[in-house]
């Protein structure tokens, strides 16, 4: 007798219901739409939806629907052209410093599915196209940063060598260091040359002063531009990959531009902010000897300190000497503070950073330390980026700490998680700004897409026919399982927000083709048992039992491969690994449990079963 307990049938029923619910949204149309939300990840103004509707009505732009929740207003349109017109109008009318308007697409699914958060898979750039950003890398800022860092470098070298100097300044590509004593020239030159072999350096005597003049060579600028570009590309890929399994296309265009294409993304503002923004942290000691308010009023800042402002606008004096900067961070994650529930970022420092932090905190217990939040913001009036620094927290050092600690003072969880992402994904070498945002059509022609879909259908149907012919009733059972596997796979991919590309579809079909394997293994075992003269009922049981360990071993090995690709691969490799991993899990469920349930249901009760249709 082959019976399944009731609970297994119930379990299968629940899983299939779940699969049906979450795969259904893929059958609906997707509309081009716009998302309006707050630029800083805060809640939006309650009237924003009405304002948006009014603006569109005044401009005679017809929207299909306008809906909103706490964080965004979503407007859908009948076609892409209207969508773009509306974007231009909304960006002109709304204050873009407070609101961002981004292109996206929304599935036209009934409210019920939205309530259970069921959404269709995003179709990839090849199938439907997506959003295109053209970014310009601000090389001028990168060059200025290079000059500044050389100046800092010279100062440090001279200080370390105990050579007194009057000034070190950068003027364009020339860095000039004026020494107090011309006798030190040779020694200084030597020290500087040793650490800056690329610079073209010469010296001159000016009265009693010694002057060292260093030129940044064109070669150096060329290298800087190339590495800045490379690092920005890498950082962008990291940032976008961390937002999910979306399959972006990121390419360098010309000398200083980057093209990013993203398939219809869920949360375009977030993406926009993430690709565009730079943010990092610095930890500095608070200057406790001088009064910050007095210094801010009088403008007389002590030479070892700098004036900063906190988020509430109050001034604070911090020491120029840096304890630790974002570059020394090796890990960051966002969360909530356990004591007061405010958003925080938990950071991990590298070895040297941890040592410095520990030394500093040990010597400064019960003194104040400040966290400075730094981002490059684009100033549309000046047409350049400005470094924006603010102190997000000032806290008393209660006890020494080193490697890991948390930083609070962030406005929202969104800000905390963005900051954590930036710290993790690495900083941009040079700031960038979006100079063009457009929608792009699919990179494959409609005829190609149609042909692709048709071939996939043909392949699937061929397998179904073949299985039915070869294994008869058991083949039909396997076919039911195959179909259910497809439903489950689509449901799971939709829930994970996976992006579907044409190779991805082919990958799914292939998983389906390979899912047949589990059933082939079982059925061949049953046939073997029958050949060996076992009774049909025993053959079924033995067939399933014996095939199980084989199926498990084969699938677990493949799963290990898929997981390794998921963890260590990136971009398209990850997308493939996600499909493969999910496919393995769903196919084991349907090929073993579902087929057994059906076999038991059809044959299991028949005590005098003579033969099996296999």
């Amino acid at each position: 007798m082959n019976r399944y307990p009731l609970w297994k049938y119930v379990l299968i029923g629940i899983v299939m219901l779940f699969g049906a619910l979450y795969s259904t949204p893929n059958l609906f149309n997707v509309d081009p739409s716009l998302q309006v939300s707050s630029s800083r990840g805060l809640d939006i103004d309650i009237n924003l939806a009405d304002r948006v509707s009014n603006i569109l009505r005044q401009e005679n732009i017809s929207a299909k629907s306008v809906s909103s929740d706490e964080s965004k207003v979503l407007v859908t349109f009948a076609d892409g052209k209207t969508q773009e017109q509306a974007q231009v109008v909304l960006e002109d009318t709304l204050d873009t410093r407070q609101n961002t308007v981004a292109l996206t697409s929304t599935a036209d699914v009934p409210g019920f599915f939205r309530a259970i958060k069921a959404a269709p898979m995003v179709l990839g750039l090849d199938l439907r196209g997506g959003v295109h950003f053209l970014m310009e890398v601000d090389m001028a800022t990168a060059e200025r940063q290079q000059q500044d860092s050389i100046v800092d470098d010279f100062r440090t070298i001279l200080r370390d060598e105990r050579i007194r100097y009057q000034s070190v300044v950068a003027n364009g590509k020339t860095i000039t260091a004026v020494l107090r004593n011309a006798d030190d020239l040779a020694e200084a030159l030597n020290a500087i040359r040793q650490q800056n072999q690329d610079l073209s350096i010469n010296t001159e005597n000016r009265g009693t002063d010694g002057v060292i003049r260093a030129e940044i060579t064109d070669q150096m600028i060329q290298t800087l531009r190339q590495t800045a570009m490379q690092q920005n590309l890498t950082t962008l890929r990291n940032r976008i990959n961390q937002t999910g399994v979306a399959e972006p296309s990121i390419q360098q265009q010309g000398e200083d531009r980057i093209v990013i294409q993203l398939p219809g993304v869920d949360n375009p503002d977030e993406i926009k902010e993430r690709i565009n923004a730079t943010a990092t942290l610095e930890y500095r000691a608070v200057d406790m000897e001088n009064d910050a308010v007095a210094a801010a009023n009088s403008g007389r800042i002590p030479p070892t300190s700098r004036l900063y402002y906190q988020r509430d606008g109050s001034p604070v004096l911090l020491q120029k000497r840096l304890i630790v900067s974002g570059k020394q961070l090796i890990g960051a994650s966002a969360g909530f503070d356990q004591q007061n529930g405010s958003p925080m970022v938990r950071v991990t420092l590298d070895g040297s950073g941890a040592n410095r932090m520990f030394d500093f905190t040990r010597e400064n217990v019960n003194k104040l330390m400040a966290v400075v939040y730094i981002e490059d913001r684009y100033d549309p009036d000046a047409e350049r980026f400005r470094k924006h620094e603010e102190v997000i927290s000032v806290a008393n050092i209660l006890e020494p700490f080193g490697k890991t600690f948390q930083t609070t003072g962030l406005e929202s969880f969104q800000e905390a998680s963005n900051l954590a992402l930036f710290l993790r994904a690495g900083a941009l070498a040079a700031p960038m700004r979006i100079i063009e945002e457009r929608t792009v059509g699919p990179s494959l022609g409609q005829d190609n897409i149609d042909r692709g879909f048709r071939s996939v259908m043909i392949g699937f149907v061929l397998v179904l026919i073949f299985m039915a012919l070869y294994y008869r009733v058991f083949g039909l059972i396997a076919n039911v399982a195959l179909f259910l596997n497809l439903v489950l796979l689509v449901a799971a991919l939709s829930m994970f927000g996976a992006t579907l590309t044409l190779p991805g579809i082919a990958g799914i079909v292939l998983t389906v083709g390979m899912a047949v394997d589990a059933n082939v293994l079982i059925f061949e075992r049953i046939r073997e048992e029958l050949r060996n003269g076992n009774s049909p009922q025993n053959s079924i049981r033995a067939g399933y039992d014996k095939a199980l360990s084989t199926i498990a071993d084969a699938n677990i090995t493949t799963l290990i491969a898929a997981l390794a690709l998921l963890v260590f691969g990136s971009g398209p490799i990850r997308g493939f690994a996600v499909t493969l991993s999910i496919g393995i899990v769903t196919s084991m469920f349907t090929a073993i449990m579902v087929t057994r349930a059906l076999v038991n249901w059809i044959y299991g009760r028949k005590a005098k079963l003579k033969a099996l249709a296999i």
């Binding site: 890929r237 390419q251 990179s443 042909r451 071939s455 044409l502 082919a506 083709g513 493949t558 963890v567």
Partner: protein, 315 residues
């Protein structure tokens, strides 16, 4: 319907020298063509030229593609860009002497000739590859971790000789498939990478199924030498192996013949991969395990050590 009514008794292992020679020849050809001809990298890897044109009236995209193909740009990717009248064309780099200006003139001329509406060139620029170097490096690292993971798991579940066999089969399959890609010079793009990954999963799956049967038979068949055990196992799993390869090839054949050029390279790579993968799980994986001297003792179920069993009884 059955492929074989009786259990087959083909002497697979008897011909393993022949198979080994064949594999070595295939590997040599594969590696040689990989070295001499190299891969024909696609737009994803090389980058190329991006040309934006604007039409007075919205054109039919399939006609635009056709016009470009007729003019010799059959690798062009054509997309609408913002409005339906704006189009971007991306092309892989062509011969070095051809200047970017000439290229964009050629493209616009080809488009003008085939369109009644006015075509204006908006811009033309060089775009870098979509797959940066760090992506390729990360990919290679991922492959290494995959191989190590498989080595560890198969050693644990089976035995180290088997794990070496599985990895040898995998390397064999990947190298030969790469060789075929180099010989045919099909465009090596992201879809081919996906196909190679799928192939690894497939080949692995196939190998483990055969190994599983070998392990079972080592435990149940007594008084038979290793070679015979492996032969019996391969024969017992033969109909399953052919059945699974058959259904997978069926799907792939459909993709290859009806899928259009986009899926062509993907399907082709996988067809080669499935063929080689099926062959390698019989000959490479099992032969390697056999040559490394796998024996029954290696796979006997180890007695479970009871906690405290090695201690003297207290009383």
């Amino acid at each position: 319907m059955e492929l074989f009514h009786k259990q087959t008794t083909i002497d697979f292992m008897g011909k393993r020298r022949l198979a080994l020679i064949m594999s070595l020849i295939l590997l040599a050809i594969g590696v040689a063509s990989l070295v001499t001809r190299g891969l024909n990298f696609g737009l994803d890897f090389t980058g190329g030229t991006l040309i934006e044109v604007s039409y007075a009236e919205a054109p039919v995209l399939s006609e635009v593609r056709q016009a470009l193909a007729d003019a010799g740009f059959d690798d062009a990717v054509v997309q609408t860009f913002g409005a339906e009248t704006d189009i971007v064309v991306r092309l892989a780099p062509r011969n070095a002497e051809e200047s970017a200006d000439k290229l964009s003139t050629d493209v616009t001329n080809a488009l003008r000739q085939n369109s009644s509406s006015e075509v204006t060139l908006r811009r033309q620029e060089f775009v870098g590859p979509q797959i940066g170097r760090e992506l390729a490096e990360k990919g290679s690292l991922a492959m290494l971790v995959v191989l190590l993971g498989i080595l560890a798991y198969v050693s644990m579940r089976f035995q180290w000789r088997f794990s070496l066999g599985a990895v040898a089969a995998l390397v064999h399959d990947v190298l030969i498939t790469f060789g075929v890609i180099a010989i045919t010079q099909i465009s090596f793009d992201l879809t081919v990478v996906a196909a190679l990954l799928a192939m690894i999963g497939y080949s692995l799956n196939d190998t483990i199924v055969v190994f599983d049967r070998i392990r079972e038979n080592f435990r149940s068949l007594r008084k038979v030498d290793s070679e015979q055990v492996i032969n019996t196992s391969v024969n017992q799993t033969l109909s399953r192996t052919l059945m699974t390869s058959g259904t997978t090839l069926l799907v792939l054949a459909a993709l290859f013949y009806f899928g259009g050029e986009i899926i062509h390279a993907f399907a082709f790579t996988l067809i080669i991969g499935v063929l080689v993968g099926t062959y390698s799980s019989i000959y490479i994986a099992s032969t390697a395990a056999l040559s490394l001297g796998v024996s029954r003792e290696d796979l006997l179920e180890q007695k479970v050590q009871k906690e405290g069993a090695n201690l003297d009884p207290l009383v």
